[in-house]
């Protein structure tokens, strides 16, 4: 083997590493390793100046390998790959060694031990780099079409966004109609936008686009192919009872470049007896909104019929028939209990520990609707016939612009009572009057225990993830502890999943209001467009590779592979095969395993199972791993 020319750069990280690791000693020890031509330390290897120095060294010293010992590869892999590329070195000839998270930060009490460990880690990195070969990214052609799963506000807006930039869309909706939750909403905060109107507008726009195909009563049941070129299988109809008679299920195959999942949420359903749920007069917030809309009190009522009502018709008329009633009885007092099904204690089985984020705003907004509908009417001695509203909350989270809703509700007469996490309100029925009684210790009145007589108790219920077992299986979507779908990075990659080309948006990834759902839907659109408009995508070449000389097809690798279609069985035709390994394949006509580099994720699960040792993981070959172990195990003094 010809001697490599490797450059090693060890980072102080401004003290993060050098406070606990003697970086000069590391440099002095590893500079004599075989193949090392340059060994330097730097205050910050990621700084522009040091990057420039590396670039010069690579070119002037004619380096063919680069080792950077600094922080986690999560932070700077792409930084230093870029340095290599700019210097004309193949990016895969560079190795990142983590001497911060996995060394200095972990051993702040043992400077000598940390230094020794750093030496071993850097030696392993050098050993790996000594055996690297130039690799090229796998280029895949992308299909300029996308599949959107879920026809709620996020899915429909995503479909329109894709359509606008010339990407054809297939939209799959499980229900008989698109529209989702929002189509059932009346007036929505913060600007009294009407849910039915919003969705009617979106549906109208969708109908105008020739490049959007909507499948209702449909589900995504299969996904094959690779990133940028998926074959999706959609099952249409036939699923549910009550569907059109004798509607047989039909299966449709479409080719798409990306998949956007916007399957939304479910409303939390309280347990029987939870805050009195199940008693007459105890309702959830969605149930209460329905009651408001159906009694003509919600601002949304009537707008669906197409007439604009200016602002206040149906609210102020105060005529007979518009007073709020429940089961024939007038409602004069309402108690709202917040955080039902959200921010639960960890002691509750399957606790929803998260805040559902939209509910404080939704409940406060609802109380404003009630206040407007039941505005004090003059007459009869001037005593108003308003509805008294009590809000029992843990923490009021009317964040951002919605703070104004809270102020307005307070000004309109809503009373807010704060209860402690450990002292939830109790709901009971007064046997004599038949009224509901809500007892709570109000922290804002020196924790005085008070009992509120209420005609209605509204449980402000949060969001829970839908059960999407089939979809999770089909798409191999990662699900978080909270059972919502997981993005790669909550801040920097908020709509991408670990499955390339599959994006998530809306409330399926966590509680969101409709505005936030739309924002994330449009983020998913731009991410999709990023790969689909370019026409091709570049994938990491760090994937498994089969040596057809060794392979005799036993199928063990395919059995172990978690990715559909990554390993296929193929007959070696004349002059074909994975020729890169040997150029010539022994035993033409024999069957071997062939790996689709676009589907393989390089997990390495197949490599150790191969009885012929025919599989190597590019970038992490057996030879490289063995060399790394030797580098780690070598005595430090030597």
């Amino acid at each position: 083997m010809t001697m490599r020319r490797i450059g090693v750069y060890i980072c102080h990280c401004g003290g993060n590493i050098s406070d606990y690791v003697d970086v000069e000693k590391v440099r002095g020890t590893v500079e004599s390793e075989p193949g090392v031509v340059v060994a330097k330390t730097a205050m910050f290897t990621c700084s522009d100046a040091t990057q420039q120095e590396m670039l010069q060294d690579i070119q002037e010293q004619n380096l063919d390998g680069l080792v950077v010992a600094s922080c986690s590869p999560k932070l700077h892999t792409f930084t230093f790959r870029g340095v290599a590329r700019r210097a004309g070195l193949n990016p895969y000839e560079y190795t990142q060694v983590n001497v911060r998270e996995q060394c200095s930060w972990a051993h702040t009490d043992d400077r000598a031990g940390a230094t020794e460990k750093a030496i071993r880690l850097v030696r392993a990195g050098i050993a790996r780099t000594g055996l690297t070969v130039p690799l090229d990214p796998t280029v895949v052609q992308t299909v300029p079409k996308a599949l959107v799963v879920g026809g709620g506000i996020a899915g429909l807006r995503a479909a329109l966004g894709l359509s606008d930039i010339g990407i054809a869309v297939f939209l799959v909706e499980k229900e008989a109609q698109v529209g989702g939750w929002v189509a059932g909403f009346g007036s929505m905060y913060p600007h009294e936008k009407n849910g039915q109107e919003l969705m009617a507008h979106l549906k109208g726009e969708i109908a105008k686009r020739s490049n959007i195909t909507v499948f209702t009563k449909a589900e995504l049941v299969g996904k094959a192919g690779s990133f940028g070129n998926y074959q999706a299988t959609i099952k249409v109809g036939g699923g549910k009872a009550g569907a059109a008679p004798a509607a047989a299920a039909e299966t449709i195959q479409v080719d798409v470049g990306s998949i956007i999942v916007a399957t939304g949420f479910d409303s939390y359903h309280p347990e029987a007896g939870e805050y009195g749920y199940g008693m007459e007069g105890v309702v959830t917030l969605p149930e209460f909104k329905e009651l408001l809309d159906s009694s003509g009190l919600g601002a949304g009522e009537g707008r669906g019929n197409g007439h604009r009502d200016g602002h206040d018709s149906g609210r102020d008329d105060g005529g007979a028939g518009t007073a709020l009633t429940y089961k024939g009885r007038p409602v004069r007092s309402i108690a709202y209990i917040y955080c039902v099904g959200s921010r639960q204690s960890r002691d509750v089985p399957n606790a929803n520990t998260y805040c559902s984020r939209f509910c404080c705003n939704a409940a406060v907004h609802t109380s404003l609707e009630v206040a407007a509908a039941a505005a004090p009417r003059t007459g009869g001695g001037g005593v108003s016939a308003g509805v008294r509203q009590y809000h029992l909350y843990r923490d009021m989270r009317t964040y951002g612009k919605y703070e104004l809703l809270f102020n307005e509700a307070r000004d309109k007469g809503s009373v807010f009572l704060k209860f402690g996490d450990d002292a939830p309100p109790a709901v009971a029925r007064d046997e004599r009057s038949g009224r509901l009684l809500v007892t709570v210790a109000d922290q804002l009145t020196m924790s005085t225990e008070v009992t509120i007589p209420a005609d209605l108790v509204v449980l402000v219920t949060g969001m829970v993830p839908r059960s999407n077992e089939e979809l999770i299986k089909t798409l191999k979507l990662p699900v978080g502890k909270d059972r919502f779908f997981n993005e790669i990075h909550p801040k920097l990659r908020p709509v991408e999943t670990v499955v390339d080309g599959v994006y998530i948006c809306g409330a399926c990834q966590g509680p969101k209001n409709s505005a936030e759902s739309v924002a994330s839907a449009l983020a998913a659109v731009t991410q999709s467009a990023g790969i689909l408009k370019k026409g091709f995508a570049e994938l990491e070449p760090l994937v498994a590779k089969v040596d057809p000389d060794q392979c005799t097809w036993c199928g063990k690798c395919q059995e172990s592979c978690p990715y559909d279609g990554a390993i296929r069985r193929e007959q070696v035709a004349e002059g074909q095969g994975e020729g890169k390994v040997t150029g010539r394949v022994k035993g033409r006509g024999k069957e071997v395993a062939v790996i689709d580099a676009a589907v393989c994720k390089g997990c390495g699960g197949c490599a150790p199972l191969c009885p012929k040792d025919a599989i190597d993981l590019q970038g992490y070959t057996d030879a490289q791993i063995k060399a790394m172990i030797e580098g780690l195990a070598k005595e430090v003094g030597q």
Binding site: R388, Y390, E449, V450
Partner: protein, 103 residues
């Protein structure tokens, strides 16, 4: 303290004719009590809270206190919420006159 059953109509009972009662902006900070020259402990933040919630008995029990107020407005000029404290106390006196003294 025994559990107080709220009277949801209390605020409306205090608000009568030209007498308004508005303490929704009160956030219980206590600036009013701190500057009160009479050193009245209850006034006005606890009292207003009783009214807002509908704790009728607690309001009626504090007739003396409600009439101890000088209406000097020291509290009002110092109130960060801009609550019209003196106006509220006047409305409460009318309420007490009617409901307690039967005037």
């Amino acid at each position: 303290m025994a559990v107080a059953v709220l009277n949801p109509d209390l605020v409306d009972m205090v608000r009568r004719g030209s007498h308004d009662f508005n303490a929704s902006a009160c956030m219980n900070c206590g600036a009013c009590s701190a500057v009160c020259p009479m050193g009245i402990q209850l006034l006005p933040r606890k009292l207003f809270r009783y009214v807002l919630l509908g704790m009728e008995d607690q309001v009626k029990e504090n007739t003396e206190t409600i009439y101890s107020c000088l209406l000097c407005k020291m509290c009002e000029v110092n109130c960060p919420g801009g609550v019209h404290i003196a106006e509220n106390v006047r409305s409460l006196r009318h309420f007490i006159n009617r409901q307690v003294f039967r005037l």
